[in-house]
């Protein structure tokens, strides 16, 4: 697909990396020549240096024949303008990053009247993901399918976990929980486990199931955590604001710390029932004074990765139950080794959203619609939710008679709101939703899962 990406910030570069890996024809546009050069050197894309919100540059980038334009510069207004121009020149679809809370209410207007097909707000999506994790604290990562009916949760097997040394097919017998282990990360490799796969200490495993089944299972293996009541948030940026709003609605006690006095005053104006503290949240004295050890969770959301990491490590040492760290440079592989369990990155979250949109566009010729798409384990594994089309040719055939590609797992079937964990005798039916897990490949259509 012909895609133009305007703006090579962290998000733009992340999108370039992800989409060029999927084999799209990509043109990147940015005003800084040094950024363009380095991106062109690293990825197989074409670079254009110039102002992406001018007709000249957009035409040069091929906006006339482009299938999609993604505007992700730092400025919302620029992005919207860029999308409007592109749309008028002839680009079929446009995605714009809009993150100013003031514009959030205008999404519908932007979509319907201005014709921007998708609005991405990475900060809001990140806040959403964090709030989901806080509401289900036992796991380090949580992704929802089928409107939240099924979830994929990631946990790490620590010492003394009964799963150590256990085989995958023993789980069902021992714990009587309807969950499926769909991917295991061990050191730097990823496995889609078969029945005789043995767990080891320090494996990170992804398990699928309904919320209640997952809870029972986690209680049995002893990693279940109680409801988190008192949350401390460091950094009152956009994510902090969205997150405070989301969590205070659920009746939790939120303490939001930011060092900028004016910002704090603005925040208190926008937020009720949230304690806003003006102070340096990366200062140990401030954290102690604010009673960090009596909090259930800490969310580190400052703009500087290093500060977030150091604050998180301090919180872990104070035995805070849940520590969530925002990192922008997620490429450092050692982050998991230093003991930080839950890392969130706005770029990855927004990247997943855009990738799903692109995949669905690509697939609009095909017939099995992609409903949800997540990248797990640092992008090595994909979990995709498809709707099964009517008369696809493979429905109503028992799974044992179909030949699937290796490294692929059909995790569950959702039929009329009921969850089925398939065995060899189960079949797909038209109108079902199926969740497929796979590593090292790209699924665009449900057809792709067969040999």
């Amino acid at each position: 697909m012909y895609i133009i990406i305007v703006g090579l910030g962290k998000l733009g570069i992340n999108l370039t990396a992800q989409l060029s890996k999927e084999g799209h024809d990509i043109v990147v546009v940015d005003e800084k020549s040094s950024v363009v050069t380095s991106v062109v050197d690293t990825y197989d894309v074409m670079g254009i240096c110039g102002n992406g919100a001018t007709v000249n540059i957009l035409t040069e980038a091929g906006a006339k024949k482009a299938k999609l334009l993604i505007a992700c510069t730092g400025s919302d207004e620029f992005n919207i303008l860029c999308c409007m121009f592109a749309k008028n020149i002839g680009t079929e679809n446009t995605i714009s990053r809009v993150r100013n809370p003031d514009y959030v209410d205008q999404h519908l207007f932007l979509k319907e009247k201005i014709g921007i097909n998708m609005i991405v707000n990475p900060e809001y999506e990140t806040a959403n993901e964090i709030s989901r994790i806080i509401r289900f604290p036992s796991v380090s990562k949580l992704d929802a399918f089928a409107g939240g009916k099924v979830e994929i949760a990631m946990i790490t097997i620590r010492e003394n976990n009964p799963l150590c040394g256990m085989a995958v097919n023993e789980i069902k017998k021992k714990f009587k929980a309807n969950v499926i282990v769909c991917a295991v990360q061990r050191e730097n490799s990823v496995y889609i486990p078969s029945g005789d796969f043995l767990f080891r200490q320090d494996d990170s495993i992804n398990i699928t199931g309904t919320r209640s089944e997952l809870s029972t299972f986690l209680k049995q293996i002893g990693v279940y955590k109680q409801r988190l009541k008192d949350i401390m948030i460091i950094g009152g940026g956009k994510i902090g604001l969205y997150l405070s709003e989301l969590l205070s609605q659920t009746g939790r006690n939120i303490k939001l710390i930011d060092s900028n006095e004016r910002k704090c005053r603005e925040l208190t104006g926008m937020l009720d029932e949230v304690t806003v503290i003006c102070g340096d949240g990366t200062d140990q004295d401030v954290l102690d004074e604010q009673n960090l050890e009596n909090h259930d969770a800490l969310v580190a959301l400052t703009d500087i990765d290093e500060e977030n990491i150091i604050v998180s490590m301090y919180a872990m040492s104070k035995n805070v139950k849940k520590v969530i760290t925002k990192v922008d440079r997620h490429s450092y592989s050692i982050l998991n080794d230093v003991g930080l369990e839950t890392l969130v990155s706005p770029q990855i979250i927004a990247g997943n959203l855009v990738t799903r949109y692109v995949r669905a566009l690509q697939n609009s010729a095909g017939n099995s619609q992609i409903n949800t798409l997540y990248k797990l384990v640092g992008g090595k594994v994909e979990a995709v939710e498809f709707s099964v089309p009517m008369d696809a040719g493979y429905e109503n055939i028992p799974f044992k008679d179909l030949s699937f590609l290796p490294n692929l797992l059909i995790v569950c079937i959702i039929r009329h709101g009921r969850i089925i964990f398939p065995s060899g005798d189960d079949v797909m039916k038209g109108g079902d939703n199926v969740i497929v897990i796979t590593s090292d490949r790209i699924l665009e259509d449900l057809h792709d899962i067969f040999i």
Binding site: Y2, D25, V40, D41, Y43, D44, V45, M46
Partner: protein
């Protein structure tokens, strides 16, 4: 990667084998078969040993290109040695390097008696080397990633590499498409003019790669066909142009192609040089038409760094020879198959000199160098001046080493100039009628080095002498 490249060479060697079978030269099949066998064997060995790290950085791109060219030339020389066409390995290596780098300097005095398949391979190396074998590999590879850009940058001549389309592989395919298309067109035109089919193809190879190996002892002049001379002149000029322009014409943006500044410089230099030489020759009592034809051919041949000859310019007036010598430095356009310093570099150097003088007159003056109406950043300008300085340095050192042989001054200097610029003939005893067989082994090695350095634009070849030069990593 290196393994893949050697495999590609083995596959390309099947073509001369086919030629040998077609012309019934059965005794020449064996040398090719042995070479193919050795190449496949080495490639297999390299494939078995998995490289420790797969990531290719800019440095690795340069290294890979330099090593590939060295290996390709060494293996490519084998058919000449085994078939006893050129019994000495160093001579054969020189000849092959000269072929791959599209120089066209030869150590052979007699070429006409060689087997047809050997002649085919000799000219075919021009065709392979013209656009670059790694670009060819990129074009046929099933999947490329961003790292291939480093390889492309190291192999494609010119200070900057622009992609035609967003996918590198697609770009490489378009380039090869244009290249092959133009070569075929030339072949057909030559056949129409009455040149034998085999000769037409080989001369087209030599023209397309801007190489200049001739298959007659007295060059293109040996066909006594003004038609062929004119057609080849025009095509030499065309192959010296930036191939991006042809792509622009293909996608119907010919107008913007015509506005290209480098094109104006290139055509300007050709017109000026042709005019001066024509006047000189006419004064020397040649008919005007013939003078124009001869000078146009020679100017195109030298500036595009092809090195074909129709007349012995050693007997021309000194000023005309100096003009040809200057043209050797200029070379073709960026993104062409030609060598030399490249027209756009010359343009920037000239503009930089003008800026220098302006600054001396008014030190507060701010001035940016522009090409095609767009500012060239100082980083690029420094790169170009640095390149020029390095080029001259290599030239001077090489001239000194070659001078140890004790040839006369003109031949000594022009041998290095012509090799570094990938032209082919020089002046004096290595002129149109002479060849390089009189040089010592040391000089031949140095000149081979110069040819490679000139083709790969210096940097990759120098990387071979650094501590990063471990072939193991690039297998």
């Amino acid at each position: 990667m290196l393994g893949t490249i050697l495999m590609t060479e083995a596959a390309l060697l099947l073509l001369p084998v086919a030629v040998a079978i077609y012309y019934g030269e059965l005794n020449v099949i064996l040398p090719f078969a042995v070479t193919i066998g050795l190449l496949t064997g080495t490639a297999m060995l390299m494939k078995i040993k998995k490289p420790s790290s797969m990531s290719i950085f800019a440095r690795d791109g340069y290294m890979l290109v330099a090593l590939s060219w060295l290996f390709l030339s060494a293996f490519g020389a084998l058919p000449f040695v085994i078939s006893k066409s050129i019994p000495n390995f160093i001579d054969a290596f020189f000849e092959t390097v000269s072929g791959f780098t599209t120089t066209g300097s030869t150590i052979l005095a007699e070429v006409a008696h060689l087997p047809k398949s050997i002649l085919f391979w000799r000219s075919f190396t021009h065709f392979i080397g013209g656009m670059g074998i790694l670009v060819f590999v990129i074009a046929i590879l099933p999947k490329t990633d961003g790292t291939a850009m480093h390889i492309m940058r190291a192999e494609v001549p010119g200070p900057t590499v622009g992609k035609l389309v967003s996918k590198l592989r697609a770009s490489a395919r378009i380039l090869y498409g244009i290249y092959t298309g133009m070569t075929l067109l030339l072949t057909v035109l030559l056949i129409i003019g009455g040149m034998p089919k085999f000769d037409s193809l080989l001369n087209a190879f030599a023209t397309a790669g801007t190489g200049g190996f001739s298959i007659l002892n007295d060059g293109i002049g040996g066909y006594h066909s003004p038609y062929a001379e004119v057609v080849i002149s025009i095509f030499m000029m065309l192959f010296g142009l930036n191939f991006n322009l042809y792509y622009l014409i293909l996608i119907r943006q010919g107008k913007s192609a015509l506005k290209d500044e480098e094109l104006h410089w290139y055509t300007g230099i050709i017109a000026g040089a042709t005019l001066i030489i024509t006047i000189y020759l006419t004064v020397l009592h040649h008919p005007f038409g013939e003078s124009l034809r001869l000078s146009f051919f020679q100017v195109c041949s030298i500036i595009s760094t092809t090195g074909f000859t129709t007349a012995d310019f050693n007997v021309w007036p000194v000023a005309t020879r100096i003009i040809l010598l200057i043209l050797m430095f200029v070379g073709g356009c960026v993104g062409s198959t030609g060598g030399g310093l490249k027209v756009s570099r010359i343009a920037v150097l000239v503009k930089n000199s003008v800026r220098l003088v302006r600054r001396a007159i008014n030190p507060r003056r701010c001035d940016t160098i522009k090409i095609n109406g767009r500012p060239v950043d100082d980083h690029t300008v420094h790169g170009i001046t640095g390149y020029f300085a390095t080029y001259m340095l290599v030239l001077v050192v090489s001239v000194f080493i070659v001078s140890i042989d004790g040839h006369e001054l003109t031949a000594t200097i022009t041998s290095v100039v012509t090799c570094l610029a990938n032209v082919g003939p020089g002046l004096g005893e290595i002129g149109p009628t002479g060849n390089f067989s009189g040089f010592s082994i040391l000089s031949k090695v140095i000149l081979s080095f110069d040819m490679l350095a000139g083709r790969l634009e210096l940097i990759p070849i120098f990387m071979l002498f650094t501590k990063y030069a471990i072939p193991r990593k690039y297998a």
